[in-house]
Amino acid sequence: MLNRLAGILLLTGFACIVILPLLLVVFTAFKTTPEFYRNPIGLPAAWSLEHLVALFKEQPMWRYFGNSLIVTAATVLLELLLAGMIAYGIIRLGGRGSRLLFALFAAGLMVPSQVNMIPIYQFVRSLGLMNSLSGLVVVSVSVLLPLSVFMLSGFMRTLPKEILEAGEIDGAGEWRLMLQIALPLSAPYLAAVSAFLFIIVWNDMLFPMLMLTGKENMTLPIALLQFRGEYVTDYPMLLTGVMVASLPVIILFVLLQRYFIAGTLAGALKG
């Protein structure tokens, strides 16, 4: 009984620690500036759209949103395609060559972006890919290859070999085997990996910050960072930005949560 009570207290307590900061964002975003200074926490007396309207008027929010969408969609799709092909190649090749290739990609798992931000930045600059969305996609896809190859080849290894062999006997080439057997069989796992990659790319800060210098090319997180320069400690404005930038992901999460959760499990198990 005591244990039950402790459990309920703990669970509700932590639920509050999660919800209160999020509610605070919403409350602050809908307060007028004078009210914010009078009453920085707590419910707004009258819900005001002042900051929301101002944000969309002063900032090309739709543009940022579109940039984020383009970069994320292109990166995740290309990543699945390239990593899927490599993973399929690894399980089909077999033997020494396959182990070597796998090790080459797995070694990249040890090198986080924080370590190679300098040389990658220099490389991108020497290629003239700075301040370009496609340049960012190229970098993001490459940086995520070790993780994706690791996850996808780990999963494809569990596919029953007999099915692929049966397809082979029926005369299917490698491309057909991959497109019509290996990938469809991996579909639920691919969905989880996509959700996992989506979160990483949509929220990515380091390379977008280094590469996207022009306002017209900024993704949402980078635009937010830049707001701090413009609005300094104008918290209602900053938190309106946070709210607008976070809403799409929260909605997506509510709709597709089991993929996000499966993706986390898959991603963490890489270790």
Binding site: L10, L11, F14, A15, V18, I19, P21, L22, V25, F36, P40, I41, L82, A83, M85, I86, G89, R92, M110, V111, Q114, V115, N116, M117, I118, P119, I120, Q122, V138, V139, V141, S142, V143, P146, E174, W175, I199, N203, M205, L206, L210, P221, L224, R228, Y235, L238, G241, V242, A245, S246, V249, I250, F253, Q257, F260, I261, T264, L265, A268, G271
Partner: protein
Amino acid sequence: MRRRRPLILFFLPGLVLYLAVFVYPTLSGLYYSFTDWDGLSPSHRFVGLDNYLRLAEHIVFQKALVNNLKFMAAVVFCQTILSLVLALYLQRSTHVNAALRSLYFIPAILSSVSVGFIWTFIYDPSFGMLNNLLESAGLSSWSRNWLGDAGIAIYAVAGVQAWAHIGQMVILFVAGLQAIPADLLESAKLDGGTRWQVFRHVTWPLLAPAAALVVSYTTIQSFKAFDLVFTMTGGGPNYSTEILSTFIYGTAFSSFKFGFAAAASCVFLLLIAVITFLQFKALRTERVTY
């Protein structure tokens, strides 16, 4: 052999990209670490081990190293214990439990810039929710400038890092708990074990692989942290939250000492390799089966 030919085409595009945009720059970083390059001028000098020797004596670098360890220890401790305890109460798959697990997960899907802004606001000494709540609870002596106090700023950020990732770790622990055969727990209870005894002698040994996974994931994740520190404190006040990644960033992109920053990156990588290796060794020795 003929069958294998098309397989090369499966590797080729990804491999070329990986070698060009990931492997080559990483290796060139190793090369830069032996030069005095400023990142802009066309030429640079080879300076041998100079950068590394200077790093060993660099006070801010040493401070960053210590801060990295402090940050890592605080995050691993809070995040692991809290997520384990929460998972123990959430392991049964009821509707309420599933809803709570999803709720706890939400901070993990927000961008670190958003999380950083939210908590900078909460920690704000004059408008922040934290000081406001402490004052209403009659604890005004506890209120302070959370991110401006050199003694606690790093722990204040570590708390936010844990806040953002506990939900993910709960998921990992719940998966580990659900993998424990129910009849084992049942028979331990029938044998008259107390709740603690059952946990200590049955649940915990079987949960060890999941716990090891959470700890190793969190260790690396917190050791390479960057986003939150960069957004919330930028390394300040007085370098009290400077960690290796922000040190590298500042050295390269504010002071334009690319060679020097590249050397710091190589040390950073070496440390990550050492941590990974130690974990690998530790993980191999503890596996229990019943």
